[in-house]
């Protein structure tokens, strides 16, 4: 069973994504900010992280940089899910090395197809 970590400060979004991924058969972990997300990632080593960017305590970018610096977590693919949807925001996110950048509001199928693709890639890399 693939593990996905959701890092999101807004409870409503977190709950919705959690519900969807559970139904799709993933094992889902939740974090309400970057700091918590980093902790869980180190502890659980998920196959994919879905993270908001603007969050209290630690932003998505900060968390991602820290993950990449850690050998244990540096290979975990990350998708940003943010309300900041302008071109510059997307470029900045991708430049950080994210696998994808999704803007709110996104429909459920788009979210799932992105998730599945990254998980598949992860599987291929893991097998090697």
């Amino acid at each position: 069973m693939r593990k996905i970590l959701i890092v999101e400060d807004t409870l409503a979004i977190r709950e919705e994504v959690f519900d969807i991924l559970i139904l799709e058969g993933y094992r889902v972990f939740e974090a309400k900010d970057g700091k918590k997300g980093l902790e869980i990632a180190l502890k659980e080593n998920p196959d994919l992280i879905i993270s908001d960017i603007l969050m209290p305590e630690m932003s998505g970018f900060e968390m991602f940089e820290k993950l990449k610096k850690n050998d244990k977590t540096k290979a975990i693919p990350l998708i940003f899910l943010s309300a900041k949807g302008e071109k510059e925001d997307i470029r900045t996110g991708m430049n950080h090395g994210a696998q994808d950048y999704l803007t709110k509001p996104i429909n459920i199928n788009d979210l799932l197809s992105a998730v599945e693709k990254k998980i598949k890639n992860k599987l291929i890399i893991d097998k090697k």
Partner: protein, 745 residues
């Protein structure tokens, strides 16, 4: 003038020559007159003699005839007696006659010698009788001539008026005019000659003198370049012409004598009429002078001046005309040249006159202009003198030469005091001397300065600010002669300006503040809009997920789960509605401000009741009013006021979920009515205090408490609009106090 001089000289020369000629002419005429008079006398004397001679001869003939008759009538004694008496008378007559009478026989020997002969010759009768007259008493050179006369008479041919000289006994030469008469006997045989003489020695001498004079005169005349001529009248035959006629007219003298009409033929055809007219006049007036052209032998045209004089006898009949002609071609030429030059002069003079008249016109115009400019200058001067601005002038040495009335008034220095003084050295304060001097020096090289400010001290020592405009002063040839400074007393203006500058500075600061605020506001606004969009996306995303979930997993879902999803959608819609309301509130806040008097107690209590109701009286709200301000009146826009206190009170209840009490306290400051709201809730972290009024800012400790992050932003904005203040005191975990100050007026 330079050309007139030779004309005068020429005229003078010609005049002199003409005068001299006239003099000579007169002398000549006098001489001629004298000669002709003497000639006349001679002729008259001669005639008398001839007449007398003739009378004598007639007498002698009568005697001879009488003798013959006597001889024929031999016997007639009385006749004989008469004859003898007559012979006696005759002999006495011959003896005593005033003329020398001599007789010779047919052999030339003297047989008569009267007393006058004795007297004239000095030889006595007895010495002479029987001697050969010619050989003894006639000078050698005349012997032949006299002998011929006597011989002629001896053959019956009588000679009258033969002149010859005879020498007296003492050697004096006497001129004798001789008339020879043949002497015959009674039978008519020639027996000798009777000579009746006349002593003309004196006449002869006179004539010699005359001839001599004539000769000398001729010499004089021949030496003259002028032609002197004389014609006898009325035949008009040329008697004399001086040799200069040849050089003047080109014809030889002989032509003049042979051709009487040469003179008139020679006159230029154009002038002949005029000359003839003059000639007619000449015979009436006796003299004339004329100028005409002639054609010389070689067809050269010459100008001639001719003077003619008619000489008349005592009875008035003209018998001689004489004249003098001279060549005036050169003079004419000169005259013509003079005329030409004169014409040129006249032309030039005309031109000059024209230009002169033009000049005169110009001068008139210039004078008019001058008058105009003078009046303008006068006006300007008046203007400068009375101008309301101080005007001064300096010469090119910097000395004052203009100082108008306003300058006097402003500085207190009179014109008399200032004139001739160095303006900069004397009247400009030390610190500005250099700069003012530079401005004036610049103007002296033609660079004018506008609006230079500098201070002056007047006579009383008061400081005056002057605004100076320097103008270069030039004379009519544009040469710089000084500087004219036009000033303006801006002392008041400067004070005013300084005040104004202060005001402007203050206002600029205010404006800058306002601008900064505005900028911040604009930034805030764009940030707010960006944030707002972000804030809307989040609930939208939640709704989208929930809705997508329902659609995707509908079949798998338990009804309770469907309900839960639908509830979540409703919650998100509600949140968005609240968000929308708040955003609209913020937008509205900026627009309205209508202050109205409100009872403070009523206003606060109304809000308390409202909020208390919405939270279902979860907290005890205590109102503390020590100063009894409940009944006081505040001036506030009611809507804005409510927005402030509802938000604060809402927050107080919302963020103190575990406390049960809220305290509202009324107090008063000098200018403000103060309302403070205190809760005992979670408090605000120190680091976030400064951001709490920014929109969409929520404390990290409010994670589980609903909110848009706009409430305090609305409060801050509203308080700013009513001109009040808000102060926040908070300790995390202990609670927060918001102190709102409402301005009293």
């Amino acid at each position: 003038m330079g050309i007139k001089l030779p004309k005068e000289t020429l005229t003078k020369e010609s005049k002199e020559a003409s005068n001299m000629l006239e003099k000579k002419n007169i002398e000549l005429h006098l001489l001629i007159d004298k000669i002709s008079l003497e000639n006349k006398a001679l002729i008259i004397a001669n005639r008398k003699l001839t007449f007398q001679n003739a009378a004598n001869l007639k007498q002698a003939t009568k005697l001879a005839l009488a003798k013959k008759e006597l001889i024929f009538k031999d016997d007639l004694t009385p006749y004989q007696l008469k004859m003898e008496q007559l012979a006696l008378d005759l002999t006495r007559l011959i003896e005593t006659t005033n003329a020398p009478i001599f007789g010779i026989d047919d052999k030339g020997l003297v047989n008569e010698w009267n007393q006058t002969s004795e007297k004239i010759t000095g030889f006595k009768k007895h010495e002479v009788i029987g001697k050969n007259l010619i050989q003894n008493y006639i000078s050698k050179e005349h012997q032949k001539g006299v002998k011929k006369v006597l011989d002629q008479a001896l053959i019956g041919k009588e000679t009258s008026n033969y002149e010859f000289p005879i020498y007296t006994k003492d050697g004096a030469r006497n001129m004798i005019l001789l008339n020879s008469t043949t002497r015959r006997d009674k039978k008519g045989n020639i027996i000798g000659v009777l000579g009746v003489g006349q002593d003309i020695t004196e006449i002869d001498q006179l004539r010699t003198t005359l001839e001599d004079s004539a000769f000398r005169l001729k010499l004089v005349l021949e030496s003259l370049s002028e032609v002197i001529w004389g014609r006898s009248l009325p035949d008009c035959a040329l008697q004399y012409v001086s040799s200069s006629v040849v050089s003047l007219f080109g014809f030889p003298i002989a032509d003049w004598h042979s051709n009487m009409h040469l003179w008139s033929d020679m006159i230029h055809p154009d002038d002949i009429k005029r000359v003839n007219k003059e000639n007619e006049v000449l015979f009436n007036s006796g003299t004339c002078e004329m100028e005409f052209r002639i054609l010389t032998a070689n067809k050269q045209i010459k100008y001639i001046n001719s003077k003619v004089l008619i000489i008349k006898r005592t009875d008035g009949t003209p018998f001689f005309m004489t004249g003098i002609s001279r060549d005036i071609t050169e003079q004419k030429k000169d005259k013509n040249q003079l005329k030409y030059l004169n014409n040129n002069l006249v032309k030039k003079s005309n031109k000059l006159q024209i230009s002169n008249s033009k000049l005169k016109e110009d001068i008139i115009e210039i004078n008019e202009l001058r008058t105009k400019s003078l009046s303008i200058a006068k006006e300007l001067r008046q203007f400068i003198e009375t101008a309301n601005a101080p005007i001064f002038g300096i010469d090119n040495k910097g000395l004052v030469n203009e100082w108008n009335q306003t300058s006097e008034k402003i500085t207190g220095f009179t014109k008399d005091e200032v004139l001739g003084k160095d303006l900069v050295q004397t009247y400009i304060t030390k610190g500005y001397q250099k700069a003012v001097k530079k401005i004036l020096d610049d103007a002296l090289i033609g660079q004018e300065t506008a609006n230079y400010e500098f201070p002056l001290y007047n006579k009383d020592g008061t400081r005056i600010m002057v605004l100076l405009n320097s103008t270069t002063r030039r004379d009519h040839k544009s040469k710089i002669i000084g500087v004219l400074g036009v000033g303006q007393d801006i002392t008041e203006l400067v004070t005013y300006r300084n005040e104004l500058e202060l005001q402007v500075k203050q206002r600029t600061i205010n404006l800058n503040d306002a601008l900064k605020e505005q900028k911040e506001l604009t930034e805030l606004k764009s940030q707010f809009i960006s944030s707002t969009s972000h804030e809307f996306r989040t609930p939208l995303a939640a709704i989208n997920f929930a809705a997508g979930f329902l659609r995707k997993y509908w079949a798998k879902m338990e009804p309770i789960m469907v309900k839960q999803k639908l509830k979540r959608i409703e919650v998100q819609v509600l949140h968005m509605t609240k968000l929308l309301d708040d955003v609209l509130t913020i937008g509205k806040v900026e627009k309205t401000k209508k202050n109205q008097p409100l009872n403070l107690g009523d206003f606060i209590c109304e809000i308390i009741d409202e909020v208390d109701d919405s939270f279902e009286r979860s907290h005890e709200i205590v109102l503390i009013d020590i100063l009894e301000l409940k009944n006081s009146t505040i001036f506030i826009d009611k809507k804005l006021g409510r927005s402030i206190f509802i938000n604060i009170l809402n927050n107080a209840i919302k963020f103190s979920p575990n406390a049960k009490k809220i305290i509202i306290e009324l107090s008063s400051e000098k200018n403000y009515t103060v309302v403070s709201v205190t809760d005992f809730g979670i408090g605000i972290p120190q680091a976030e205090l400064k951001n709490i009024f920014n929109p969409f800012t929520r404390g990290e400790n409010v994670y589980l408490i609903n909110g848009t992050g706009l409430g305090l932003s609305i409060v801050k904005k509203t308080i700013n609009i009513i001109g009040g203040k808000v102060i926040v005191n908070s300790r995390i975990g202990h609670g927060t106090t918001f102190i709102v100050k409402i301005p009293k007026i």
